[in-house]
């Protein structure tokens, strides 16, 4: 009886939480998609807002972090860009597109910050 109750509870929990997670993911994807659309029209601030929302909704969304890295780079905010790219890579270390973006970013970042102190 107890086992049956536990099983029922587990099934109930799963049935309640899974759609919620799926909804979150869908909402986050929607934000990312819209961000890409507006970025394509040069509206980078709006894109940043959308992608920040996306990672708020789903903090494991590597693609959204990657896009934020690109957008912060476009805005000249190199520290934030580095943070976003690193987060994306931490979430998906084998994502070749993220890695290429990050390498291109690093090249510029190193070139512009390298200087003598003497």
């Amino acid at each position: 009886m107890t086992l049956r109750a536990l099983l029922t509870l587990a099934v109930l929990c799963t049935s309640l939480t899974t759609p919620a997670l799926a909804d979150d993911r869908t909402d986050a994807r929607r934000q990312v998609k819209f961000g890409i659309e507006v970025a394509g029209h040069g509206l980078w601030n709006e894109a940043i807002y959308r992608w920040e929302r996306a990672v708020e909704i789903d903090p494991t969304y590597a693609q959204a972090y990657n896009n934020l890295g690109v957008a912060y780079e476009q805005a000249g905010d190199m520290d934030k860009a580095a943070g976003a790219y690193k987060k994306a890579l931490a979430l998906e270390p084998n994502n070749q597109s993220v890695r290429e973006n990050y390498e291109l970013f690093e090249e510029i970042n190193e070139r512009t910050s390298a200087a003598d102190d003497d």
Binding site: R29, V32, K33, I36, A39, G40, A62, Q63, N66, N67, V70, E73, Q74, A75, G76, N95, S97, V98, E100, N101, L104, F105, I108, R111, T112, A114, A115, D116, D118
Partner: protein, 262 residues
């Protein structure tokens, strides 16, 4: 019936796998990364590209050419007014005995003819003359003469260079069936070219003190049988550095492309 169920299930699994792998969305977009200037030049209205300690090659006058190039770049891409004046003969000035010109009260304009033998062949020679950059009194005097501009000076080493070794290149080959293949071929080559090592020093003309400095190194190599004038190589190498030089004084942007993901 069973086959139908199996087909439907397989299709669903394939569709889910595709979605999970992010089957869509790679979008390549052009971006422009704005680079903030490394130096706050808001206190200056003018810039004086004063001159450079130069050496390494007899074929290019690194002082005159660098002064001319940087002034023309600054004219087009900086808000500062560029002062036109003869390039200072820094090498002769630095070689003048006891001519820590400002502080010692010596002559600011020693007779260049007297020190025209001074040459810089290598980094050691350059080091021996580099004391001029820390002569605060001298640069302050120069600053006063030109109404307190931002002063740009430094050194330019432009040296011939050659290298031997194996170089890998790709070659097209066709097999017996006429199929094209690209294979890497390693060949021993002798190549020659130049190394450019400039150091840009930015000095506050009001105080004579160094605000900022930055060093670079670029090299170019050509096939040994290729004839490239030294001056062309000099400009080819300088062109690579100009954005970084300008980036010290004014906002620049670097164009590129990045990939957005869905």
């Amino acid at each position: 019936m069973n086959a139908r169920v199996l087909l439907t299930t397989t299709s669903a699994i394939i569709a889910l796998t595709f979605a999970a792998c992010g089957g869509g969305g790679i979008y390549e977009l052009p971006i422009e990364t704005p680079i903030r200037p490394k130096l706050d030049v808001s206190a200056f209205q003018r810039v004086f590209v004063a001159g450079f300690l130069s050496g390494g090659s007899d074929e290019v006058d690194g002082n005159v050419e660098t002064v001319r190039l940087l002034r023309s770049q600054l004219r087009g891409k900086s808000q500062l007014r560029v002062i036109d004046a003869d390039a200072l003969p820094l090498l002769q000035l630095a070689a003048t005995p006891g001519a820590s010109v400002g502080s010692a009260g010596g002559s600011v304009d020693p007779d260049p003819a007297e020190f025209e033998d001074a040459v810089i062949n290598d980094d050691e020679d350059l080091e021996a003359h580099a004391h001029i950059f820390s002569d605060v009194a001298y640069w302050k005097r120069i600053g006063e003469e030109y109404q307190n501009p931002l002063i740009v000076t430094g050194s330019v080493m432009f040296t011939p260079h050659q290298r031997q070794g194996f170089v890998q290149r790709e070659e097209e080959v066709y097999d017996t069936f006429g199929r094209r293949n690209v294979v890497p071929i390693r060949t021993f080559q002798e190549r020659k070219g130049f190394i450019l090592k400039p150091k840009f020093i930015f000095i506050d003309g009001r105080t004579g003190t160094t605000l900022y400095s930055e060093s670079f190194r670029e090299e170019v190599l050509y096939q040994a049988n290729q004839v490239t004038p030294a001056l062309s190589s000099y400009f080819e190498l300088m062109e690579r550095l100009i954005p970084s030089f300008l980036g010290a004084l004014s906002s620049q942007s670097i164009r590129g492309t990045r990939v957005l993901l869905n």
